[in-house]
């Protein structure tokens, strides 16, 4: 039982790592990124390619995260510019359609060029014994990665001036602009940061299963579900929702099977939108 709980928490942290990017980009840029899973896959595939070049895995992972970030930068500076020019509903719609198109373009491209590339990371020791429970070392590493990333993210958002600036834009873009903040530059920063987090999530996923070109849509849908359940503007909510859904996912997979679990998760997302569009845990960002 404890093993399942731990497993769920680790999975949940993974999910949150993916979802927090969607939350950040939506909160700050007003664009719902439907290509987020593809960012993760780009990170994963890049890492696999660097490992294939003979690089040390750790260095390859760092380069993979940077590649995802670079990809995010390019997307933000080129494709999303027309969306940023609009405001309100129009921007949402344009951003949604552009990123949807992007997700297919990336899927198609990766499938074409790197169909046989997949990332699998193997750790030297497969499992540890902790207080009578066997824990996979992959879980420990993944949990540490996610917790580390979140700690850094929170420290950045709460502790630095730039973090304060970011939070101010999430609260009110016009107001922030009036205080002399340039939302465009901050937005780029956030998109890059989110893409890097997604890339990190994709690489961490490689600890458990092989990350190939076909994972993109699945990762996007899971991240989207978590972001929606957490409230697409709340970072705390996203973290909480990720862990909660991770635990639900682990127990449901154990009790009723993977197929029903997916349906349960999807239904949770649908009902959250319908009953509490602001998210289950949305009270502050």
């Amino acid at each position: 039982m404890i093993a399942i709980l731990l497993d769920g928490i680790v999975q949940g942290l993974q999910l949150s790592l993916m979802a927090v990017g969607i939350t950040l980009i939506f909160g700050l840029g007003g664009v719902l990124n439907l290509a987020h899973g593809q960012f993760a896959v780009v990170g994963g595939i890049a890492t696999a390619l660097f490992v294939g070049e003979g690089l040390h895995p750790l260095a390859a992972c760092v380069l993979g995260v940077l590649t995802a970030g670079l990809f995010g930068l390019v997307v933000d500076r080129t494709l999303l510019v027309p969306a940023y020019r609009c405001a309100g509903e129009e921007r949402l719609l344009l951003g949604l359609l552009i990123t949807l198109g992007l997700s297919f373009a990336v899927n198609g491209f990766l499938d074409l060029r790197y169909a046989d590339v997949a990332l699998t990371l193997r750790l030297p020791t497969p499992s540890y014994e902790l207080g009578g429970v066997t824990v996979r070392s992959a879980s420990i590493v993944a949990a540490l990665i996610a917790l580390g990333a979140f700690a850094l993210l929170f420290a950045f958002l709460k502790g630095t001036l730039l973090g304060k600036v970011i939070r101010s834009i999430i609260q009110n873009e016009v107001g922030a602009g009036l205080c002399g903040i340039n939302p465009g530059r901050i937005r780029t920063l956030i998109v890059v940061l989110s893409a890097m987090l997604a890339g990190l999530g994709g690489i961490a996923q490689g600890l458990f299963s092989s990350v190939g070109t076909e994972m993109g849509n699945e990762l996007t849908s899971f991240a989207l579900i978590v972001a929606v359940v957490g409230g697409v503007r709340s970072i705390n909510g996203t973290l909480a929702a990720g862990v909660l859904l991770g635990i639900v996912n682990a127990f449901a997979s154990y009790l009723v099977g993977a197929y029903m679990t997916l349906l349960i998760l999807l239904a949770t997302a649908a009902f959250t939108i319908l009953l509490r569009p602001q998210g289950l845990f949305a009270y502050r960002t």
């Binding site: 719902l32 494709l79 027309p82 509903e89 949402l92 719609l93 344009l94 949604l96 359609l97 552009i98 949807l100 198109g101 992007l102 997700s103 297919f104 373009a105 990336v106 899927n107 198609g108 491209f109 499938d111 074409l112 849908s221 989207l224 579900i225 929606v228 197929y259 029903m260 997916l262 349906l263 999807l266 239904a267 997302a269 649908a270 939108i273 319908l274 569009p277």
Partner: protein, 317 residues
């Protein structure tokens, strides 16, 4: 003036249908091209439906394939399991699709969901539908799909006859679209698309008209989905997936022009040609769809009809 306009629209419509009716004479010998032409009509009809739902009332339904598929599966499964006539099960399938679409629309209007949340809810429904079909193996045969050869109405068994059957659906949907747009509902749709709040304040029952648009559009999606199920001789979750329906329809409609009568037809025809051009490139087509969609959304948001109107300086319905 108004009457002349409607007459011109009907002439244009009749011309389009006549041209489409002549297609089998040109390609009749080749089974491959007949299939492509029929598929083109199927996507045109999907696009007409999406045009009503999204083009006119701004409800971003990302579950077109799922709605068409729910109708197709309901009809096929009932026909196989209960041995009912397809003439009975197709309307049942259509009704289920219309009901689903209407409920989505009603709930999202009532909850005041923005365009993006309607998109997410319907996207989630797409995923649920896909997984349900995969999971309910006893009924749907999961990923393997169901053979529907010889099950459907006789008219859908031979290639030319099914082409004309689908053409009849397309023609009927275009006429219905035209009648809908010139009625009271059409004016309401226009007002809603321009400014929903202003429409509400002007006394238009926004909920009613949005649900109406979604229900009619979904019923049309269901009709095409069911007809396609029997025509193609085989259905599987892939046939109705997001990639094979929603994306193509979005591209078709954006290409042709949203909110126009002939946009879906033009878009469908151009897309069919384009699709055939990229087919030799194999798996590249997903990449092409994606890039095309981005390019269209960014630079060509008003579509071919608007462009032709500008260039030729004629009124195109």
């Amino acid at each position: 003036m108004n009457r002349e306009r409607h007459l011109a629209d009907y002439v244009a419509l009749a011309a389009v249908v006549a041209v489409l009716a002549l297609v089998p004479l040109a390609v009749g010998d080749s089974a491959h091209f007949m299939r492509l032409a029929t598929l083109m009509l199927v996507y045109i009809a999907y696009a007409v439906a999406f045009n009503i739902i999204f083009g006119h009332t701004r409800q971003l339904f990302l579950c077109l394939g799922a709605l068409a598929g729910s109708s197709g599966y309901v009809s096929v499964v009932l026909t196989i399991k209960l041995g009912l006539s397809p003439w009975l099960t197709i309307p049942l399938g259509v009704a289920s699709a219309a009901l689903l679409g209407g409920v989505f629309s009603y709930v999202s209007v009532r909850r005041g969901l923005g365009v993006i949340f309607v998109g997410i809810v319907t996207l989630v429904f797409s995923l649920i539908f896909h997984n349900l079909v995969l999971g309910l193996r006893e009924l749907t045969n999961g990923e393997t799909g169901i053979e529907t050869k010889g099950l459907g109405p006789a008219v859908l068994q031979s290639a030319p006859a099914s082409y004309y059957a689908v053409l009849a659906v397309v023609a009927a949907s275009l006429v219905m679209y035209h009648l809908l747009m010139r009625s009271r509902a059409g004016k309401a749709f226009q007002a809603i698309a321009d400014d929903e709040l202003a429409a509400e304040l002007a006394g238009i029952d926004v909920t009613f008209y949005k649900v109406l648009a979604a229900t009619i559009g979904s019923a049309l999606l269901g009709t095409v989905g069911a007809v396609y199920a029997y025509y193609s001789g085989f259905i599987s979750p892939t046939v109705y997936s997001l990639v094979s329906v929603d994306i193509v329809v979005l591209v078709t409609l954006l290409l042709g022009g949203m909110g126009t009568l002939l946009g879906p037809v033009l878009g469908g025809a151009v897309f069919a040609v384009l699709d055939e051009v990229v087919r030799p490139l194999g798996r590249l087509n997903v990449l092409v769809y994606g890039v095309l969609m981005i390019v269209l959304v960014v630079t060509f948001r008003h579509g071919l009809v608007a462009m032709l109107r500008k260039v030729l300086r004629v009124r195109i319905p």
